[in-house]
């Protein structure tokens, strides 16, 4: 039935492709030539994109990568002729399937939008109309473009929801966007985009803001659907690592222009432009931990459109800048080899620079426990006398000067635990020993000053620690004075300056208000504030996940340097496993409030034994193009509500290795070594080896599965 519906209205694009490949292969589907986009303000005109040229071939997946603000979204919007009232294309052309889109009439545009070019947005929640059902919003597409009747449109929507693997499609049609999770919403948006079988799909950061496991599933879905529907992709992201696997070709965009373009493998193996090299070096690699490599950061920030330098736009941030050749106005892209372009005056002068292999001496491994959690449980009362288990019997310890990472999907209780440790919340039971005290039920206001000083927190969003009406240095100064770290105005001021230097911020920024600082700068201030108190323990809750990748690298490197210099103990909360591998000494994996596995970085990343950890690890995108076709374990369904924790193993509803006993009995704690333990019915030491157990399971979905 579904197939019939689908075939009945399968439009010409399918046919075009099947009989047209030989003759149209050379002609790009989308051809952007010398595109210039301006935004006219009241008193100044911003040139968001000065001159961009790129082609997307039929059936190709093209990745457009660059830091935020470089003009990626603007380009996508220009393709669809949607630049708002202030924006305009002032030069160049956008040809789609032979048709010029610049200056197209509204009628012409309406025929293209949603029908031949569709879009998937960054924030699916806000992209969907909150007051209309999913079904109504989906059915609109075939009704507008294919003239389908209501009932048939709904039937097509239902079929499409099944294609994007949403459970219970019929029920889903009647739901409202707020009743779905972020991942489900994004699937709905993807379904909506594909309903009219467009030949080009624009994806603007489609997974930013989603959990890693959800992100992996969405990317897999896009890859699969792309093959099934033979759609070309223009995949926009600030994360090079993320889209490496999904794209055939990459364009690296910087401040509105392409600085390098080439096949994905080629770009990764032989990046020529210093900016590309910097971006690649920013990606934390799952294959290396912090003891073997340090993240390189690209210093500085992307210039505002008004302050673009002459010649190479990357010049001010480039180590290789040479006056006379780099600042020439007639700088042109150069061909490295057919299909690989680079816009750098000096690319021949340097091949890829090896990142300095900073070997960090192993810390004192026999140090005592700095903080020790035993059976920490946190219940929140909900209405009708039920309780929500945010944490259940969490037990682990952190040695002095060690970094322990807490990982798990959002909602698994990481932040609750952080709040209890810092005294923003109170445990229901259990012990947290810190400096010979039990602080589990001691809230911040009951804590003595000394204790408050010794535990500091860094939040995901620096705005929550910085007072918007005071200068950036104010919070640092306040911390110094409050805890009596320095006495006297001169001493305090000197220390503020030292701290700013420590986080590599220009002291001139100290008197600025937070709103005048970038996200990365604010997070540096927050770090300086945390370290101002001379803490023995830092709790960092997703400290860099709100930042751009290039800034992330800089902030993480900085945090690690300071932590090492001060021998601070750190609880590092993150959902980014690649980053965790890079940062942590020890990893604690949580699921639904309980610790599923814990071990050293080597133990977790070298031989994770718990099915949940294995699933998390397999969801990390590899940046190595040659390795990217490995099988992914896909977690089915959603994390259950912490109010209704499944009996037996709490992971059983989604586990790909579930045994018969798992839904009945709680799994035992198994010790695999003095530092490695898991909570699972499967004994990894018995019988079959598990080193690569993932690939044996029947439930694993391999990428482009069956078509």
């Amino acid at each position: 039935m579904n197939m019939e519906v689908r075939n009945a209205q399968r439009p010409a694009s399918q046919l075009d492709l099947s009989n047209g490949i030989p003759c149209t292969a050379q002609e790009p589907l989308l051809q952007i030539h010398d595109l210039r986009i301006e935004f006219r303000g009241k008193d100044e005109t911003v040139v968001a994109v000065p001159g961009l040229s790129l082609d997307v071939m039929r059936g190709e997946s093209y990745g457009l990568v660059g830091e935020s603000g470089c003009g990626k979204s603007t380009t996508a919007m220009a393709i669809l002729g949607y630049l708002g009232r202030t924006g305009a294309v002032t030069n160049g052309s956008i040809r789609f399937d032979g048709e010029e889109l610049v200056g197209a009439s509204p009628r012409q545009l309406r025929k293209v939008r949603g029908r031949r070019i569709a879009m998937v947005y960054q924030d699916p929640m806000s992209a969907l109309n909150p007051v209309r059902t999913i079904g109504a919003q989906l059915a609109e597409v075939p009704r507008i473009h294919l003239g389908t009747g209501r009932a048939q449109a709904l039937e097509m929507a239902r079929a499409m929801l099944r294609d994007v693997r949403l459970p219970d499609a019929g029920d889903m049609l009647k739901r409202y966007p707020h009743q779905l999770s972020g991942g489900q919403q994004q699937r709905v948006v993807i379904a909506m985009a594909l309903l009219a079988r467009p030949s080009l799909l624009l994806l603007d950061e489609p997974t930013t803001g989603l959990d890693v496991t959800v992100e992996a599933a969405v990317l897999d879905l896009i890859a699969e659907l792309r093959h099934r529907y033979q759609t070309s992709l223009l995949f926009i992201s600030h994360n090079l690592g993320l889209i490496a696997e999904s794209c055939d070709r990459l364009g690296i965009m910087y401040s509105g222009e392409l600085v390098e373009e080439g096949a994905t493998g080629e770009i990764f193996r032989r990046p020529r432009h210093p900016y590309t090299q910097g971006l690649i070096a920013c990606i934390p690699d799952v294959d290396s931990d912090k003891h073997s490599r340090s993240l390189a950061a690209i210093p500085g920030h992307i210039p505002l459109p008004q302050e673009r330098p002459q010649g190479c736009l990357f010049g001010p941030r480039c180590d290789g800048f040479v006056a006379g050749s780099c600042d020439r106005v007639d700088l042109k892209p150069d061909e490295v080899e057919p299909g690989h372009q680079v816009k750098c005056a000096r690319w021949r002068d340097f091949s890829r620079r090896e990142e300095a292999a900073v070997v960090v001496p192993d810390g004192d491994r026999d140090a005592g426990d700095a903080i020790c959690l035993t059976n920490v449980t946190k219940l929140y009362g909900t209405s009708r006398g039920r309780s929500l288990k945010a944490n259940e019997a969490v037990t682990f310890s952190v040695k002095e000067a060690e970094i322990v990472a807490l990982v798990g999907e959002s909602g698994c209780g990481k932040s609750t635990l952080a709040r209890i440790v810092t005294g923003l919340d109170q445990a229901t039971s259990g012990q947290i020993r810190l400096a010979d005290r039990n602080i589990a039920e001691l809230q911040a206001r009951a804590r003595p000053k000394k204790l408050l000083q010794s535990v500091q927190m860094i939040f995901q969003n620096p705005d929550s620690t910085l007072n918007p009406s005071h200068s950036a240095a104010f919070s640092i100064r306040r911390s110094l004075i409050k805890f009596g770290i320095r006495k006297g105005k001169a001493a305090v001021d000197r220390r503020v300056r030292e701290l700013l230097e420590m986080v590599r911020l220009n002291p001139d920024l100290a008197e600025r208000k937070p709103e005048q600082l970038s996200g990365g700068q604010k997070q540096r201030i927050a770090i300086a504030r945390a370290f101002a108190a001379d803490p023995s323990l830092i709790v960092a809750d997703e400290p860099v996940s709100a930042l751009d990748v290039s800034v992330q690298a800089a902030v993480v490197t900085l945090l690690l340097d300071i932590q090492r210099a001060n021998k601070t103990t750190m609880l590092f909360i993150s959902h980014d496993l690649a980053l965790v591998r890079h940062v942590a000494d020890k990893v604690v994996v949580m699921y639904l409030g309980k610790v599923m596995e814990q071990g050293t970085v080597a133990e977790i990343f070298g031989g994770a034994a718990h099915p949940y950890t294995q699933a998390l690890l397999s969801s990390i995108r590899s940046t190595d193009p040659d390795r990217s076709k490995a099988a992914h374990i896909q977690l089915r369904g959603e994390m259950p509500s912490p109010v209704d924790v499944p009996r037996g193993c709490r992971f059983a509803t989604r586990c790909h290795r579930k045994l018969g006993i798992c839904e009945q009995e709680a799994p035992p704690l198994r010790r695999l070594s003095s530092s490695h333990e898991i909570l699972c019915h499967i004994d990894p030491t018995a019988g079959q080896t598990v080193s690569d157990g993932a690939t044996r399971s029947a439930d694993i979905t391999r990428e482009p599965a069956n078509d």
Binding site: R85, M119, L128, N129
Partner: protein
């Protein structure tokens, strides 16, 4: 849902009780006693004192309030109607029945004979005005919010702001000058008297026009602001980039979202139209509820005032309930299970 409704109904009762008690307490401070008002200015002080005693008007406030409540609920007979009061107040419904609002000292009639008729007149006026205000303000608001700062927005905004800022009496006088004096198409007063030679509908035209002119611009401005906000939301972009035309975007996606916030404001206009249109009623000598309320409070006619207050509060709390229910209908995110 039933639980929600029960809760709300109880809340409504409590609100009405509080409001009636407040009015009772405030009337304490109005000059002249109940007895004096009942007997009129020509009664001797002795007669007044005697009646005060019979009515036990010196009892403490809560006692008297409970007595009033008792009369209203039909638990006790109205003391003013007692034959020995010598007032000759007589309600054909009897002295003790449920819903007995007492005797109006101003009109020397049972309150129930006074208010319902007035309320009906006002309901006609308010209903007609509301029926025009809703579509007009939505059309104006949506059209001007569609493109903030555009020519249409500026044109419509000028109309809305001008109309709203003209006081009711000014537009009343202006319209009367135009349609009654210069171009005698309509009657100058609207006493709803069929014997005046003007049909009832023709008598309603001017008062309704004055109300609409005064009120719709304000609501339209509210809808405009909300519409501007909605047009900037990403889901509108989604709709446009689906290939929908402007009409489809407005009716399919913008309208309902844009109505969520102004919905309460719109309903509040009902309250305004029922009790706040004294000026219009005065200008056109319209026998409406607002004037009744004004007269009663100037005279200190407690019984009428209490009745009118209860009716107004009842309308207010009902519109609020309707508002909340409509809210849920418009916005699925706040629907209760």
């Amino acid at each position: 849902m039933t639980r929600f409704l029960c809760k709300r109904l109880i809340m409504m009762m409590v609100t009405m009780l509080c409001a009636s008690f407040l009015v009772f307490a405030v009337c304490e401070f109005s000059p002249g006693s109940v007895a004096r008002k009942s007997l009129g200015p020509f009664a001797t002080q002795q007669q007044v004192d005697l009646l005060s005693k019979k009515l036990r008007a010196t009892d403490p406030l809560p006692v008297r309030y409970s007595r009033w409540l008792g009369v209203l609920l039909g638990l006790i007979p109205d003391p003013l109607q007692a034959p020995d009061s010598g007032l000759n107040f007589n309600d054909p419904r009897g002295a003790q029945y449920f819903g007995n609002f007492g005797y109006s000292t101003l009109n020397k009639l049972p309150v129930n004979d006074v208010i319902w008729n007035r309320l009906k007149n006002t309901a006609v006026l308010a209903g007609l005005a509301f029926a025009l205000i809703v579509p007009l303000s939505i059309i104006f608001g949506i059209l001007s919010g569609l493109k903030e700062g555009g020519a249409l927005d500026r044109f419509l905004s000028v109309i809305c702001i001008t109309f709203t800022s003209i006081p009711e009496f000014a537009s009343g006088v202006f319209l009367v000058t135009l349609f009654v004096i210069l171009w005698p198409l309509l009657p100058g007063t609207s006493q709803l008297d069929p014997g005046s030679g003007w049909s009832i509908p023709s008598q309603l035209v001017l008062p309704v026009a004055v109300l609409v002119i005064y009120d719709f611009g304000y609501v339209a401005r509210m809808i405009r602001v909300s519409m501007i906000g909605v047009m900037e939301r990403p889901f509108i972009r989604t709709a446009v980039l689906k290939g929908m035309n402007t009409r489809q975007v407005i009716f399919g996606h913008a309208l309902r979202n844009a109505m969520i916030a102004p919905f309460t404001v719109l309903l509040l206009q009902i309250n305004f139209l029922v009790s706040g249109v004294v000026v219009t009623e005065l200008v056109f000598a319209y026998p409406g509820f607002g004037r009744l309320l004004l007269d009663a409070s100037l005279f200190g006619d407690i019984a009428t005032l209490e009745a009118a207050t209860l009716v107004t509060v009842a309308i207010a709390v009902t519109t609020q309930l309707v508002g909340d229910l409509g809210y849920m209908l418009l916005d699925p995110r706040i629907r209760v299970k």
